[in-house]
């Protein structure tokens, strides 16, 4: 990949990644030369069609499934929506109107479930505990005779915790319940295989692994009847209308293959830097790592610092050229801090002081050390002007993070 821009230390890779050279170059021929509509009968159109079917095979190979089980979508959100709505409708036909998911799913899942609740579905959101991991036992206990679907994310986007998807998949298969996983944060970062994980439906999104934005995949195991979200032409086996975004799909496939190829050695390199960053930030007093330290995406670091607020932290880090993210209410534009931090039991006061740093294979040891120094400095600066910190230090209030 290319040179770093403007000396920015980009640590927001869970929000989106920079496109890889490989992905960009894979797209160009499909803008310059093979630009015809895959649905057209003429030779250029048929060339595009061939390319589309070949790339479908490549994506299927990476995920371990058959090409006809791959549906190209506009990204993770669309795949999540379609997977959940389809499984719910299929269940309803058999009188099954109960869905199990977790409290810390992405809003693309949670808001879809809310919509189904309004339509009369019953939704059980499993708690995820302080470690941010749901257990197969919890799922087993929640499954009922009328459960239509279990949907558990592969890895959480804010705190990076990896869920026991293989075990949950095995359980759901045994109990005859459909299983969906939002693998948007996992694919390209940890090994994912739809067969060994026994998933029925899986969502992924290209821009989380150095592919283009606005393109993703819904894997649906054969035999599962998808419902259209978008009606129109007969593209994607009639399940997703709209002229295929071939350049983006080519870019996604190239990025996916590259990420998976590099994964074995790269995830160790990134995880080592992650651990260095976690160790460095742990030295800040009254700070706490969010989520399990061990069952964690290689690139995710998430902390809460008591006595400060996340948005001011982000702005001051931005001043120092560090691009980060936070789950504070002020950054979400909503009333409450992130539902993920609340789900792992962080109280509001502490959840407001959160910081998420997500690394990529371009992150260097120097970036990590610069970031540790900057965060340490900025946290101390904000605490020095915080009335909350004054009360905590003077003993007027008790520290929540010991």
């Amino acid at each position: 990949m290319g040179e770093k821009e403007d000396n920015v230390i980009y640590l927001d890779n869970a929000a989106t990644t920079k496109m890889s050279r490989t992905a960009i170059e894979a797209m160009l021929p499909y803008m310059n030369d093979i630009y015809a509509n895959p649905s057209s009968l003429h030779t250029p159109g048929q060339k595009a069609k061939e390319a589309l079917e070949l790339v479908r095979e490549r994506v299927a190979t990476v995920l371990g499934c058959e090409p006809r089980e791959i549906y190209f979508t506009s990204g993770g959100s669309e795949a999540d929506n379609q997977a959940i709505l389809s499984a719910a409708r299929q269940g309803a036909r058999w009188g099954k109107r109960h869905i199990i998911s977790t409290a810390f799913e992405h809003h693309a899942v949670l808001h879809t479930l809310e919509k189904l609740q309004e339509e009369g579905f019953e939704v059980t959101l499993l708690p995820v505990g302080e470690e941010g991991i749901v257990t197969p036992e919890q799922v087993a206990e929640a499954i009922r005779g009328d459960t239509a679907l279990v949907s558990v994310m592969y890895a959480n986007n804010e705190i990076g915790t990896i869920q026991p998807i293989g075990e949950i998949g095995k359980l759901c298969r045994e109990r005859g319940v459909l299983f969906h996983t939002d693998a948007v944060q996992a694919v390209g970062h940890i090994p994912v295989n739809v067969v060994t994980d026994r998933v029925d439906l899986l969502s992924l999104s290209a821009h989380k692994f150095h592919g283009p934005k606005g393109v993703g995949v819904l894997y649906a195991r054969k035999g599962i009847r998808l419902q259209n979200l978008i009606h129109g032409g007969a593209q994607e086996r009639g399940k997703r209308a709209g002229t295929e975004n071939l350049p983006a799909i080519m870019g996604m496939a190239a990025a996916l293959e590259e990420a998976v190829l590099k994964l074995p050695f790269q995830s160790k390199q990134v995880a080592d830097l992650r651990d260095r960053l976690i160790d460095g930030l742990s030295r800040i007093p009254h700070s706490v790592l969010n989520g399990s330290r061990t069952s964690r995406l290689p690139g995710n670091v998430s902390f809460c610092f008591e006595g400060i607020e996340g948005e001011s932290l982000l702005l001051l880090l931005d001043d120092r050229g560090i691009a980060a993210s936070s789950g504070s209410a002020c950054t979400s534009g909503s009333l409450d801090p992130s539902h993920v931090l609340l789900a792992i039991g962080r109280v509001h006061d502490v959840a407001h002081g959160s910081l998420r740093l997500t690394l990529s294979d371009e992150t260097t040891e120097k970036d990590v050390d610069t970031t540790i120094a900057a965060v340490t400095d900025v946290v101390a600066h904000l605490r020095s002007m915080s009335p909350v910190w004054r009360d905590l230090e003077s003993g007027k209030k008790e520290f929540i993070i010991k």
């Binding site: 702005l315 931005d318 209410a329 009333l335 407001h352 009335p387």
Partner: protein
Amino acid sequence: MALYSEKVMDHFRNPRNVGALADPDGVGEVGNAKCGDIMKIYLKVEGDVIADVSFETFGCGSAIAASSMATELIKGKPIADALTLTNKAVVEALDGLPGHKIHCSVLAEEAIKKALQDYFERNGIEYDRSLFPDCENCDHCSHH
């Protein structure tokens, strides 16, 4: 980030009058940590003039900037002027705030009022209670 005006960023990066004052004549604290912002204002009064003022704030960039600007607007001014400082004046002095951040300027106005109220109470000075925020029954969190 172009979320905030240059003025906001300046007051956020270089806050004026930050920290506690020794032996203040009035102190006012508003907001709560649950909602994500708390402002505390310290006053020194000489005669009927705000001789000195400082703040401490837990909150987002605009909360810190609004506190800083508010202290600048009342420093060295008569108490009567400080009493009539509106959140709108703070917003204007900052060259505007994004819509969902207006409540930060409201907090600044209320923190100053609360500190003045504390000063009146400590010195047995009569004042019109209706002009002051009712912080015990405040539902500021639901107005973000």
